[in-house]
């Protein structure tokens, strides 16, 4: 089986064991699919290959783990119908990396049980108020600094905000500095910033 890793442009060095298939002007990086029982291990290998491509290419569009094909003809057949769209997306992420931000913490300011209906409603609204406040004071300024941003829908506490930002490779430090500065306004919450990653979250259109 052949595994598809990424689409690239301006690749200066191809990591060992990989090869490039050109489909309608688009360079697809493939390699033998490794059989690995441990999915976390498989994910790490996949991630390391993509990060290596990011370091050696002008633009890289990561492919989700598990896109395996019988042969090169099958890769070509799967890529060709989307080659135009993927080329455009590859252009959008040229010279950019992804920075991830997660905000985790206790939502409620007090552990007291509400005494009446109004108190109950206020407590039920707390996560949404906190989320809105974070979107305004943390996410919005970071989004203005980024070329693009993706925010995960509000799931369950304690994960209050999870967002990814597409940032030009040269401004990662400035972006991280601003994230740290903005996070200082929320001492009760844990704000983590990870990256730079290849632009995984910007490889497909928004849902």
């Amino acid at each position: 089986m052949i595994r598809l890793y990424a689409f690239v442009d301006g690749l200066r060095r191809l990591p060992d064991g990989l090869r490039v298939i050109r489909v309608e002007g688009l360079d697809a990086v493939v390699g033998e699919a490794l059989n690995c029982d441990d999915q976390v291990q498989a994910a790490l290998v996949h991630g390391r290959i993509i990060e290596s491509l990011r370091e050696h290419a002008e633009a890289v569009l990561p492919v989700r783990l598990g896109e395996d094909f019988a042969d090169e003809a099958a890769v070509t057949a799967a890529v060709a119908p989307r080659a135009d769209g993927l080329s455009g997306r590859l252009e959008d992420v040229r010279g950019c990396v992804e920075i991830g931000v997660r905000v985790v913490g206790e939502v409620s300011s007090s552990g007291d049980e509400p005494r009446d209906g109004a108190g109950y409603m206020r407590k039920r609204l707390e996560p949404f108020r906190l989320r809105n406040a974070l979107e305004e004071s943390l996410h919005a300024p970071l989004e203005r600094r980024a070329k693009a941003a993706r925010v995960a829908p509000f799931g369950a506490a304690p994960l209050i905000l999870e967002a990814s930002y597409l940032v030009s490779a040269g401004s990662v430090e400035d972006f991280a500095d601003e994230a740290v500065e903005l996070a200082a306004a929320w001492p009760r919450l844990s704000v983590t910033c990870t990256g730079p990653w290849a632009p995984y979250s910007f490889a497909e259109g928004e849902d």
Binding site: F7, Q39, V40, A43, R64, L65, G66, E67, G100, R102
Partner: protein
Amino acid sequence: MTALAAEDITLVDLVDRVLNKGVVLTGDVTLSVADVDLVYVGLRVLLASAGTLDRLERER
């Protein structure tokens, strides 16, 4: 935050991206790692880190 905790967070973030994001061509990819579990593990790590930070702050 200890170096180990930072590494764990990075691991969770990377695995989350590799399994849940990126270009999808065939659309029928099924993976045996539940992202819910991964996120859960990640949150425990993050919460532990926040607690560690608090303790360090108090001890200062």
